[in-house]
Amino acid sequence: MAGLAAKFGSGAMSNSVEGISRNEALFVIGSNTTENHPIIGLRMKEAVARGAQLIVADPRKIPLVKFATLWLRHKPGTDSVLLNAMMHVILAEGLEDKTFIAERTEGFAEFVESLKEFTPDFGEKITGVPAEDIRKAARIYASAGNAGIYYAMGITQHVMGTNNVHAVGNLAMLTGNLGKDAAGVNPLRGQNNVQGACDMGCLPDVFPGYQKVAIPEIRQKFESAWCAALSDVPGLPASEMTEAMLAGRMKGMYIFGENPAVSDPNTNHAVKGFESLEFLVVQDIFLTETAELADVVLPSASFAEKNGTFTCSERRVQRVRPAIASPGAARDDLAIIHEIFQRLTGGDAAATVQPAEVFNEVASLWAGIAGMDYARLDRDSLQWPCPTKDHPGTPYLFEKTFPRNETGKALFTKVPYVLSDELPDAEYPYVLTTGRELFHYHTGTMTRRSTGLAAVAPEAFVEVNPADAKDLGVKDKEMLTVTSRRGTIRVKARVSDIVPPKVVFIPFHYKEAGANRLTSDALDPICKIMEAKVCAVRIER
């Protein structure tokens, strides 16, 4: 997200899901869309049925490959080299959109210079994708009238995640696939309200609406709205909190609706961090693995028991409404947080709060949703920006300008070749990559309690290529020990050509065989994302 914001001025999905079916070309990289965003996947299949060309770049033979015109099976961690090599071809063959580049971008000359070494042959050497396929992909993407790029954690959870996002942005800029319908750069958000949590300022460096805490005028605006003095020091990102806990700099934590004791890369390390805290509060609907470590556990309401709004991947703000009452003494999160706020600030602890009031407060502080209110949202959902009450919402961004700075132009960024932090060696000869499967969600606290889902996907597995299985003497369904420098798990083999040789895949839903006990917490230096998608492991029977 930080990657796109630096280039365009906004890090959200630039276009809409509905427009996908009108793409002439789709480039899907690092997104197992049909399993992780199944309904967005349907639009992609519809586009293909209507004659669109689909390029899938993924080390795994994901289900979408079946629908692809071209599948680029690049090595994990080589995304930006693949993208750079494609752009090298586009420039070499004169397929770039010269008008768009001249009128709406800056930094082009330096960028062109930086691409020099990324010839298709160099691309082939690093990524393992034949140079001819790189050329084909470049031609398909660049010759389409409307081409959309779709990506997810597959390119971001790397030490060079921000670089990868920059490269994706460069590709769209180079071909003028921004600021128009059925195109764009589209990060697919993995959870119902990741977009909303970001929008609402649950990020260490920004207030709601991406307004920076470090800018004095912005801070003053929030200080007067909230009647309080505010810190000008950006906070710690989640991925740096573990170290702060272990170093004794962070003593207390309040976590709600998250289960980092299973979802954090290098989980063993993260759990030590939580254990070292003086005080941990966890607010959740289940006694999660994280809640088990807490000093106080607060029972909250599920989505079916509360009022509010979620903002989905395409910036669409939608109502959430209660169907039933919460069990026992569980209370909705808003009421709990509000009461703690009141008690901490010396307010009236018995005062109640309405979601609509809170929404209006946000709308008064962030122009992006200033035109929204519950009465409008009750009639229909709206996509931000929606600055006024009569604004219809925005299906695609950047039509006239990029809100990055006063020039209104998008910025080309140089993307150097960076290696993954932990590459395979003699001791740990396989690359482990992780992800989700269709039948489960995140740490499985919800889906594994649903009988049908638990029945069709009962246990963890490790995908091993048949060639590797032969080398290791491993049979399908045999129990294996997978070990990295950080941990070890026992997990059942699934011998399959979904993964290429020397690469294995484990879903991270299963706490009893937690893939994240193996994954690396090496950080991207810019956006502080952890490299969950590439680490080195060894496999034993």
């Binding site: 119902n192 020091v233 906070g235 609907i285 106080v296 939608q318 008690r343 709060v353 969950a532």
Partner: protein, 348 residues
């Protein structure tokens, strides 16, 4: 736009519309069993037959393009007699056990039987005895209720792109089954269940729960991935017992297996129902009152802030909770505690 006359009404319709689409635009009701505007026209059920001036016999309106100046009649005694006969024939090979059928009240076939007041079928004869293979935890098949409209086969192929099921055999022996009667290779999205016009397809987990009309309906947004699908929660006696999605929303009524069938966690017996407190380090989590729990939270947070400063406290918000909750949470961290140490799992 083209203009045509349907039932003596002048109607404007877009170029390329079928007669059925044109009629529906003008709110003229033509019965169908096999039509779904989200899929290609199929022309299987023959209920949408209409008379068109100049044509010798009725045609299916779902597969006939509307043309400029066309004169259409959607109802007359002959058309209604033909439709009634079609429904009678379907019912002659149907269990007609509406009393115990999960689909009653929400069944197109039942509505048609009601419309044409068919109490008994004139056509007595053999009825199909289909073998049911139900080796899956989600989808309940009662193939003796199947009218072979093809909606399930088409949605699986045209929309889902999976092709898990198709037709086998002909005529009376016709059957919906996996290709070559192999094992079912299915994503369990339940799209087929959602389009089935009869009780032939339902969900196993709905069995024994009230039928659709006996439930409360709540329009809301799915809690799983970032697609933001609109869903309807069907609840009864303070339990969510079914999830569906309306076809007029941005996800067009389509859901995935998690959204449609992954709702049991809501009423799980594992839900937390009371605050818990660990009264001493290393001790057990024990039930507590809200006052006790919140007193402790506030006391501890205040003490840490006093002793080590506000930046010794951090907060993790939730990408699954609402905007309002997340907003208030970061405000709590920034105003109540005084730190910018607030983040969430956007990076995981």
């Amino acid at each position: 736009m083209i203009s045509l006359t349907i039932d003596e009404k002048k109607i404007e319709a877009p170029e390329g519309a079928t007669v059925l689409e044109a009629a529906r635009l003008a709110k003229i009701d033509i019965p169908t069993l096999c039509h779904d505007p989200r899929m290609k026209p199929h022309g299987a059920c023959r209920l949408c037959i209409v008379d068109i001036a100049g044509l010798p016999r009725p045609v299916t309106s779902c597969t006939t393009p509307a043309t400029d100046g066309m004169v259409v009649t959607t109802t007359n005694p002959r058309l209604e007699r033909l439709r009634k006969t079609t429904v009678e024939l379907l019912l002659s090979d149907h269990p007609n056990d509406c009393m115990v059928c999960i689909k009653a009240g929400d069944c197109t076939l039942q509505n048609l039987a009601y419309k044409y007041a068919i109490r008994e079928s004139r056509f007595k004869g053999a009825v199909r005895q289909h073998n049911r293979v139900d080796n899956n935890p989600f989808i309940m098949r009662e193939q003796d209720k199947c009218v072979l409209c093809g909606l399930c086969v088409r949605v699986c192929d045209e929309v889902q792109g999976v092709g898990a099921i198709g037709y086998a055999n002909r005529g009376f022996e016709s059957d919906i089954c996996p290709p070559f009667k192999n094992e079912l290779n299915c994503e369990f999205c339940g799209q087929c269940v959602s389009v089935c016009p009869t009780g032939a397809l339902s969900a196993k987990m709905w069995a024994g729960q009230p039928r659709l009309e006996g439930m409360e309906n709540t329009e809301t947004t799915c809690t799983y991935c970032g697609c933001g699908c609109n869903i309807t929660l069907h609840s009864h006696a303070n339990k969510v017992v079914r999830v569906s999605s309306r076809s007029d929303n941005h996800n067009r009524g389509w859901l995935c297996v998690k959204g449609r069938f992954g709702y049991e966690f809501i009423n799980s017996k594992d839900r937390l129902t009371t605050p818990l407190i660990r009264r001493e380090k290393g001790g057990k989590l024990e039930p507590a009152t809200w006052d006790e729990a919140l007193d402790l939270v506030v006391a501890k947070m205040s003490a840490i802030k006093e002793q080590h400063g506000a930046d010794a406290i951090g907060g993790l918000a939730s990408a699954r909770c609402t905007n309002e909750e997340n907003y208030l949470f970061q405000k709590l961290m920034r105003v109540g505690i005084g730190t910018n140490n607030v983040d969430h799992c956007a990076r995981y």
